[in-house]
Symmetry: C2
């Protein structure tokens, strides 16, 4: 590794002129706050960093509100940080250069459902669960599911994915178009409601994954999918992580259109058993879901059972009713919080590597050996159908040595993933935490190109500055 | 429509210093040519424009060759135009500002097949048919099929798609990573071989569809797919285009995972009958393909037959042997050339609109009424499963009035597609021909953002200048 990753972010607070605060107060009234508790709530996320909070928070309720805020920020050269659900794991929301937090949670309206086109347009503060609740009667659903009930804006900003990506793709594939407030406060539109387009530079994809550093996405048009005729979920325990992962590799190589293929290691099972009273066998487990016609789901399941059996997979347990499925997936989604509760008072340092599928078993096996040797408590969950897995190292925040050990293990894991031609982040983004890794992964030339794009679109560096790369 | 589209491109020839030619000759020897015939061959594509050819052609055989050429071009502020198979329909290859054509057809090596990861890395000059021939024994295939045997570099540059996109996506979804020579002659790498990543700005997607205006893609890593266990193709004739299109809309809305769903109007059928001696019924036809397990293919076919029957679709004719399928798809791929032969000496003005699926029937119906009233010969083919269709207006190049009529019809069609929230180009790109339409589609703000990106990455405007937008 050439570049150290960020143990502590660089703080470069910039002055917030009184005139800017006054202008925000004049426009937003009660929707503008400098109260300490409010600022602190907007100055934290799920990352292991503690930095001073933003100086002011505004609640925007429209694209015009956002444009007005950004116009002021640009004029006064003050940072703006879009805030959704606060579920970032990589420090995206932290005010390392001070400034204004733009809370988008009140921009939570579904603007247009076009069921006959399988599209929906939402405001950026809509959460994925809210979206699926509100479109339930259309017979359609939005599949991207990062676990947390994140906002669609936040998910777009980090190019999120999660449990369904192996079948339905990530936010990259499922955002059709955007309304964006640019760094100068102008409102532009990208994309159309057509399924594909070759019309000029792919600005939609440039914003998806840009982590708030190029503009604020305020409205997002998404692809939807018909609810499958049949859905069936199953769990299967394995004698080793390696056996579970090798089963997954064969599922993918055979082209089985599996909808979800999640790994939980024995530590994660122990955690969800304790948290959700599940009584699952404490062994590495695959949690799978199959979507399709009745016949297709049956066929997929049979193929996968055969593959699992060859690797010593124990009998499948099926969950075919919606209630049983919800129970299993809720447990999966609780894995992170359940895991944290295994060590009261701990914080998690999480990894997010993703490797070509054939290298996944080696990557996980070597990682497990390393973390076992370290003595740190941990658990592993993974969207293994994509080659993506997360190790959560559970550290005592009062023990700097543990943090250092976790960061060293994380560095070693990223180095391994990069040697295997993978990525340091499959879905969480770079934020503050992985800036050094980005340089290792893509090289100075590509990062410099990103900087050039940033300078061109945000010459005063007001859009979420200090994230992805230092300018 | 606010902006006129381009009836004739703006020519702004720039000087090519003798020192530059000498330097190219010194490096490339025989692989550098200023012969008139060679220049003319590199100064034409399938677009209706005639402009002077590039001043010199070099055949690059490596990324280093490309980097050396671009470095010289940047130094001398001379345009460079990457050239693949010459199958562009929109004037992408035309030397409107003079300069150097970089012929990449000798960069035609498959660099790495990673069958177990479903990825392949190729040089930009590899054609899609060559790729599928060379990976035949792996049990995998590359699905993107724009009809022409285009190069992977050209297909990436225009964000191409074609007949299989309804199931497998476009080049946007299927390019994992790139080696790019930037405008300054530097070599950078984007993406990894992992299936997904959230590592910084999506430079891969920025280059895919950039039409050679931001850099030269020299190596491309692609996703591959397992050859389906069963493949079955069918044709079905309909009493009207409307009936065929309404069948398609229902197929998509139901979520049938159809692999190809192509429309040919009666004129196109007449053309392929004449060209390929097929004896097909001269009526609007859907040409479909189903991929999957035996059971899944059967199930998809049954669903589609039921839908077709409700719209008056005649009996399906099946092609299950590879030979029969090849015969049908070859005819489909010949539609463009067969169509041109219906009017000897003609040229085609082609459209490429793509609309949300629910609007497709209205869009095509209104378009047919308009072109029928004009008296111009034409034919229609379409990747209707995506909402994408092409009208080819067959014009006599000696009759400016016909060209004007065709361009007027094209403008009206694009205006209609944009009203329906679609795009002026589903897969052919903007090139020279659709620059005005891009402005209509996405607005001045978004085009200005594209210009900002261009200026940042290519400050001397040497990379295929004068395409997508005027600087």
């Amino acid at each position: 590794m050439n570049a150290p990753h960020e143990l502590m972010p660089t703080l470069k607070p910039r002055p917030l002129p009184a005139a800017m605060i006054e202008a925000l107060r004049a426009r937003f009234g009660e929707r503008c706050s400098t109260a300490q508790a409010v600022r602190e709530q907007h100055g934290r996320d799920e990352s292991p960093f503690d930095v001073p909070p933003p100086e002011v928070v505004v609640w925007c309720e429209s694209t015009e509100d956002v444009a007005a805020t950004v116009t002021l920020a640009n004029e006064h050269e003050v940072p703006v940080i879009p805030f959704g659900a606060g579920s970032s794991l990589e420090g995206h929301l932290l005010a390392v250069q001070g400034g204004v937090s733009i809370d988008l949670s009140r921009m939570n309206r579904i603007l247009r459902i076009n069921a006959e086109d399988l599209t929906v347009t939402v405001q950026a503060g809509v959460t994925r669960m809210q979206l699926n609740r509100e479109i339930k009667d259309t017979g359609l659903f939005f599949p991207i599911d990062p676990g947390a009930d994140a906002t669609i804006g936040g998910m777009s900003a980090t190019r999120a994915s999660g449990t369904n990506a192996v079948r339905y793709g990530t936010m990259r594939e499922n955002v059709l178009g955007l309304t964006v407030v640019t760094a100068s406060g102008e409102v532009i539109h990208t994309g159309t409601r057509a399924r594909k387009s070759s019309a000029g530079y792919d600005l939609t994809r440039l914003f998806v994954g840009s982590e708030g550093t190029l503009g604020v996405m305020t409205e997002i048009t998404l692809r939807l999918y018909p609810l499958p005729e049949a859905v069936s979920a199953a769990i299967c325990s394995f004698p080793s992580i390696d056996a579970a992962v090798r089963t997954t590799i064969e599922i993918i190589q055979l082209g089985v259109p599996i909808a979800r293929c999640e790994l939980l290691d024995a530590n994660a099972i122990r955690a969800v058993n304790a948290h959700d009273k599940l009584g699952l066998r404490e062994a590495p487990m695959l949690l799978m879901e199959f979507h399709g016609s009745e016949a297709s789901v049956r066929e997929q399941a049979e193929t996968v059972q055969d593959l699992a059996r060859e690797h010593g997979g124990a009998d499948f347990q099926w969950a075919t009713t919606p209630e049983e499925r919800t129970r299993l997936w809720t447990a999966r989604h609780h894995a992170y919080l359940s895991g944290l509760q295994m060590r009261p008072g701990c914080r998690a340092v999480t990894t997010d590597t993703c490797v070509p599928i054939s290298r996944l078993a080696d990557c996980i096996d070597e990682t497990v050996a390393e973390v076992d040797a370290s003595g740190l408590p941990y658990f592993i969950v993974g969207h293994v159908g994509d080659g993506n897995f997360h190790v959560a190292y559970l550290i005592d925040p009062a023990e700097p040595a543990e943090r250092a050990t976790a960061e060293r293990l994380s560095e070693q894991l990223v180095a391994r993933a990069l040697r295997m031609e993978g990525t340091c982040t499959g879905e969480h983004g770079i934020g503050l935490h992985k800036m050094g890794f980005l340089l290792d992964e893509t090289g100075a030339g590509a990062v410099e190109m990103m900087r050039s794009v940033k300078r061109a679109l945000d010459p005063k560096n007001v859009m979420n500055p200090g994230k992805i790369f230092e300018l």
